[in-house]
């Protein structure tokens, strides 16, 4: 306070010295401006606050409308049986129940079934060709080494060191990944959209685990069932299989729901499924190790 007075006093002295004749009095308009400012802020608050309240009320009411719409949807979902009692039309009942189970109407079921069957067969064929090419080239029985020098991979017909099996599993994985990419690319090109894909995470994961299971667990690569399994297990064929089954009325609705639920789990990393795949892979690897151990023990006993 004392400093303020001192400054004001010094101000007066300077003004007098400069010859203005008298010192300026403290500016009253500054105080007036502050008062006006606070008054205006109060006015703004009086304008904005009721709008904020009305917006909040509107938001609550709108959320209520959304909840009602969802509740109506759920109520509608269980009305097909009730309606059947009235119309007694079985075909209509199946159609309506299918729509309820799916949560939507699936158009062109037969066309979908045929299309995805053909697509699945095509991807199975591609996988078969890739396996066949491998068998006829670098996995041929008479090839004893792949690569040069010490860094090469040695092979033998009986596959005593397991390198042939490992190469086969690796090739299977690689060719499957390429088939998956090809199917995604073909869907993108066909639909002319970049934000769509064919293979879903569940098909990809199933193909990975399935391939290892088939590569490790199937003893003979000559059996047709092994060839068939090896060819079917790829992301494209599995995805096409899901979609083919989904196109079947009623049963397909359950497949579709399961497929969606599994994909959601994988995408969000929720539930036991993501860990389930890891567990399956570890168990398969352990099974194979155990088989090898038993073979070694038997061999040792035989030698003795």
């Amino acid at each position: 306070m004392a400093e303020n007075y001192s400054q004001q006093y010094r101000g007066k002295v300077i003004h007098v010295y400069l010859g203005e004749g008298k010192a300026d009095p403290p500016k009253p308009e500054v105080k007036k401006a502050d008062t006006l400012y606070h008054k205006h802020m109060q006015e703004l608050f009086d304008i904005i606050a009721p709008e904020a309240v009305s917006e909040r009320i509107d938001a609550v009411n709108t959320q209520g409308e959304l909840a009602t719409a969802t509740a109506e949807l759920l109520r509608e979902k269980s009305s097909a049986r009730e309606r059947y009692k009235e119309h007694k039309d079985f075909k209509r009942f199946v159609h309506e129940l299918d729509g309820e189970w799916r949560g939507r109407e699936l158009p062109h079921k037969l066309e979908r079934f045929l299309l995805f069957s053909v697509m699945g067969s095509f991807y199975t064929g591609l996988d078969f060709v890739s396996n066949y090419l491998a068998e006829k080239t670098f996995l041929r029985k008479d090839i004893t080494k792949i690569g040069l020098g010490k860094s090469g991979i040695s092979l033998d017909a009986a596959d005593t060191n397991g390198n042939r099996k490992a190469l086969k599993a690796g090739w299977e994985m690689l060719s499957d990944k390429l088939i998956g990419l090809f199917s995604d690319k073909s869907v993108k090109e066909t639909t002319n959209r970049d934000d769509v894909a064919f293979v879903s995470p569940i098909s990809d994961a199933l193909a990975s685990v399935g391939n290892i299971a088939v590569s490790l667990a199937t003893p003979s690569d000559k059996k047709p069932i092994h060839w068939l399994l090896n060819s079917i297990i790829n992301p494209g064929s599995i995805e096409a299989g899901f979609r083919t089954l989904s196109a079947i009325p009623l049963a397909g609705a359950k497949v579709e729901n399961m497929y969606i639920a599994l994909n959601k789990q994988l995408l969000r990393g929720e539930g036991v499924l993501p860990y389930g795949f890891d567990v399956a892979l570890t168990m398969l690897a352990a099974k194979e190790t155990q088989k090898k151990d038993v073979e070694l023990v038997l061999e040792h006993v035989a030698q003795k």
Partner: protein, 105 residues
């Protein structure tokens, strides 16, 4: 209100009333939602957005009018231009804070 899935996605994304979780749920796989349900949801969200926009416009216009009156009042009492600018700047910041705090969405 007839609309396709792309329109539905746009409406959900631009909604001022849905929170992030609700948007995620609706956008997760909109093709699986029944068309009638999608239409109803889109109608509710569009109506809300229209009302919110109208409220914003009305609010903006009333705030502008009040600010003009404030400027006139400052001129009338003879506030210096620099000080007036400072006050208006302060006012602009305070108004932004107030209006940002106001919307429920």
């Amino acid at each position: 209100m007839k609309q396709n899935i792309t329109q539905f996605i746009d409406i959900v994304r631009e909604s001022k009333v849905l929170n992030a979780e609700q948007k995620r749920e609706l956008l997760d796989n909109p093709a699986l939602l029944p068309e009638t349900y999608r239409e109803r949801i889109a109608e509710i969200l569009t109506n809300y957005n229209d009302r919110a926009r109208a409220r914003e416009m009305q609010l903006g216009s009333r705030v502008n009018d009040a600010t003009k009156r404030f400027e006139q009042a400052l001129d009338e009492v003879g506030v210096a231009p620099e000080e007036k600018q400072q006050l208006l700047e302060k006012l602009r910041q305070h108004t932004a804070t107030l209006t940002m705090a106001a919307p429920a969405s």
